[in-house]
Assembly symmetry: C2
Homo-oligomer: 480 residues x 2
């Protein structure tokens, strides 16, 4: 790739879909293979995922959850146990029918999600109230046989985590469902700089087999929604279907209450489509694999003063737990700048022998592209970079939030809804709660219900669809 090729990214305002595929390729996040519908997550993309995993895994463990590993296969008869669940998933699974040279007696799908595997295990290990709660999570790959795929957003193979918990009481299980939603919210707001709307899914949009599904809805640059994680309260549906029973404190046999919750590499798609720009990727510092890229300009010898300065800067940054690289390759400075931009390093430092004579270096922040001149003093540079990383993180969130807010509309009648439906973004209406109206809005206007937010439920108007009293203020929007 030369400098021009690095920079040659479709403008996001011209063709957002093309811009997206340009960025994921040019930033070295993914590659394609002969495995249709699957992607290769390249080292730079995978390092983002590793950072997310490590943050989230700590949050899970700090709240008492334990990791384990279930089989990746589900025998057809096991998938069939919970009727709503199988209806939702059977049409989109991959089937293994042969092992070695022999056909299998019973075909098995590759897990599209693992509720049934967890339930089978829970039936064996939950016998007494002393065995509760069970707070389990697994990091794994799932398979859903999608027809149309896009890197990170919709893929046949998905890297994710799935939490599966069992509780003695409904109240405790409901609390867990919401706690996990809030952990996801914290991850997305505080680390990924994604301003998400949280709330409840309508019955039509909830998880196959759930009593309630809660969701995090992010809005992309183009105003389209990305469902960026869900947390389900499953009630006793699965535990009854699977016959999971335990002796409670009164020595009565009862069914436990269940939750499940998951987020996936899809969040990386959300980061790209929220923060990226026409020069490529922009990464929030807290999950950027490389936070600072130091680019020496012009030739320099080992142990000359430029070399010493650069090494000292890197050493100080490392001490402060700031990850950095020195780009010592034989590419031109222009190429290196372009590459640092396309890969979304939050900060780059440019410094040459001439700068050093003037005792200065240049720091460029990726979010605003602002250039800042600093004295060539290691302590001062480190201090400033520490500050800038925090400022970039905050600025990315604020920028995304104000853009998102500028694309939130309300509509109180059909005409208004028809108008806002044509604009990028979400429209809030006072929905009557009937699936008929939800369907009509989807079929006529192309908007799906996103969520019923927890707040903003005080003032209700009439449903713009049927004109009956509204029951839930509900966001509608187009989705990925």
């Amino acid at each position: 790739m030369n400098e021009k090729q690095v920079k040659d990214i479709t403008s996001r305002d011209v063709d957002f879909a093309k811009w997206y595929t340009d960025v994921v390729k040019k930033a070295d996040l993914v590659d394609y293979s002969s495995v249709k519908g699957s992607m290769i997550i390249r080292p730079y993309g995978y390092a983002i995922w590793e950072n997310i995993v490590s943050i989230l895994d700590k949050m899970f463990k700090d709240t008492g959850h334990e990791n384990l590993q279930m089989p990746m296969f589900i025998p057809e008869s096991l998938l069939n146990v919970e009727k709503e669940h199988v209806k939702g998933f059977a049409p989109e699974v991959a089937w293994v029918t042969q092992g070695g040279s022999s056909p299998l007696e019973e075909r098995m799908c590759i897990r599209p999600t693992s509720e049934v595997l967890f339930c089978e295990h829970y039936k064996k290990i939950i016998k007494s109230h002393r065995d509760l709660p069970k707070l389990y999570n697994q990091w794994c790959t799932i398979v859903r046989w999608e027809k149309v795929t896009r890197p990170f957003l919709r893929s046949r193979e998905i890297l994710w985590q799935e939490g599966h918990t069992m509780h003695a009481s409904e109240a405790e299980a409901r609390e867990e469902t919401l706690n996990m939603l809030h952990i996801y919210e914290k991850l997305q707001k505080d680390y990924l700089a994604l301003p998400v709307l949280i709330g409840k899914k309508t019955d039509k949009e909830k998880f196959a087999g759930a009593v309630e599904t809660y969701t995090l809805e992010a809005m992309m640059y183009d105003g389209v929604a990305l469902q960026n994680g869900t947390s389900h309260y499953l009630g006793q549906g699965f535990s009854k279907a699977f016959g999971i029973e335990y002796l409670d404190k009164e020595q009565k046999l009862v069914n436990p209450y269940q939750t499940s919750w998951g987020v996936s590499t899809r969040m990386i798609g959300g980061i790209i489509m929220t923060h990226g720009d026409d020069r490529g990727l922009v990464l929030p510092p807290k999950i950027a694999p490389i936070q600072v890229c130091i680019i020496p300009i012009g030739k320099f010898e080992e142990n000359d003063s430029l070399d010493t300065l650069i090494k000292n800067i890197r050493q100080e940054l490392t001490k402060e737990n700031i990850t950095s690289i020195i780009d010592n390759s034989d590419k031109s400075p222009g190429f290196k700048f372009a590459e640092a931009e396309v890969r979304g390093y939050p900060i780059r430092i440019e410094v040459g022998a001439r700068d050093l004579n003037e005792n200065k270096i240049t720091v460029v922040r990726r979010d605003t592209l602002e250039k800042i001149t600093l004295p060539a003093n290691v302590d001062e540079i480190t201090r400033k970079i520490t500050y800038l990383l925090k400022d970039i993180q905050d600025n990315l969130y604020k920028t995304a939030e104000s853009r998102r807010n500028s694309m939130l509309y309300t509509a109180s009648d059909w005409d208004e809804l028809t108008m806002t439906a044509q604009k990028p973004g979400f429209t809030m209406i006072s929905w009557c709660g009937d699936e008929e109206c939800e369907d009509k809005i989807k079929n006529d206007l192309g908007l799906k219900s996103r969520c019923i937010p927890f707040d903003l439920q005080e003032e209700l108007n009439n449903c713009p669809c049927c004109n009956k009293s509204g029951k839930f203020n509900t966001y509608f929007g187009k989705q990925y």
Copy 2:
């Protein structure tokens, strides 16, 4: 489970296979499901794997390797590209033939290993000598359709890591192959306390498609070998078959040199079968998820002096990065002791109100079961435990090593070999290098070649099989 059930483990000298399955179940490492040949790795077992992963992942990254994620599927035509490779793996793969409700145009196997996927990717991204070396690794699950399975040792689904690297020169690739073997050796000796023999596999036993395979051979308590990791020098076989070519510094198109290497959850089986005893699991402190279990004896109230002491001990241990739990459950002390033993916690602390009156506590080390009385002084307890953890780690290695050494034999003629073949352990012979003799030893005596160790090659005798001059001093033994 009651106390008796916890303790009810088959003696390892009576029935080692039964002892093994008792331990993996009773120590809560694995469970079974309706997915035949796959296992559930339960939280306690998975936590051991997480510790191993974190140690090894750091070693990989410190030596310049990057993680990525490949698809889990391999289209049949891609598996077929390298002829030796497909011959080795095609008979034992699981085939996906249907996606959703449609049969696939081309069936795909679930990766049994990923050389072909990496090669296809390398062909796209390696164009110039500047693109080399590529030092990639992935953590993932592979599938091999085994007929007879045993938890951790032989399973249809295997959690592992697979390294795949590409180099400009044969020397560099050969060096990488050995470096990775030595990283595995370090992991197994210094962390898992497994005394492994390292060396080269014979041509017959090498990886399908490799020029050379290097191996780590551990010996279990019963004298049977466990191949506990391999590192392969692949030469240019795959890179030629896949047409991977790059422009070298002289602008000539050439094929790169390749390596691959992997270890898996099988190592956990090795830990169990090396260190475990008739009371259950014994874990090396460096990979034990819980290093110290504190067991209060008798009732105690919140904030009484026993409670305070226990909390203070735990706090001090945590400060020293020693993981601990307090077993405050309503089980009997006897039950708790048995459970601490079966789960292999390196150290347990027993302390009751009566001990406290006498200003003492009891520390029990799991490896020797020795009971040590200590004054009830938090600093002294912490100091002693820090020392004991180190001592247990060392002692486990030394015990395993001297047992292993006591089961290493040499045989210089067929009679001797026939005799040692009946004893548990490995026999070293000066093998002539002919596959005929290797086959005869396997067919007549049930011993497979384990490895040609790097050292001990100076003095060679005649081959006990054909009486021709020996070429390689080679270990033979039974294997898992």
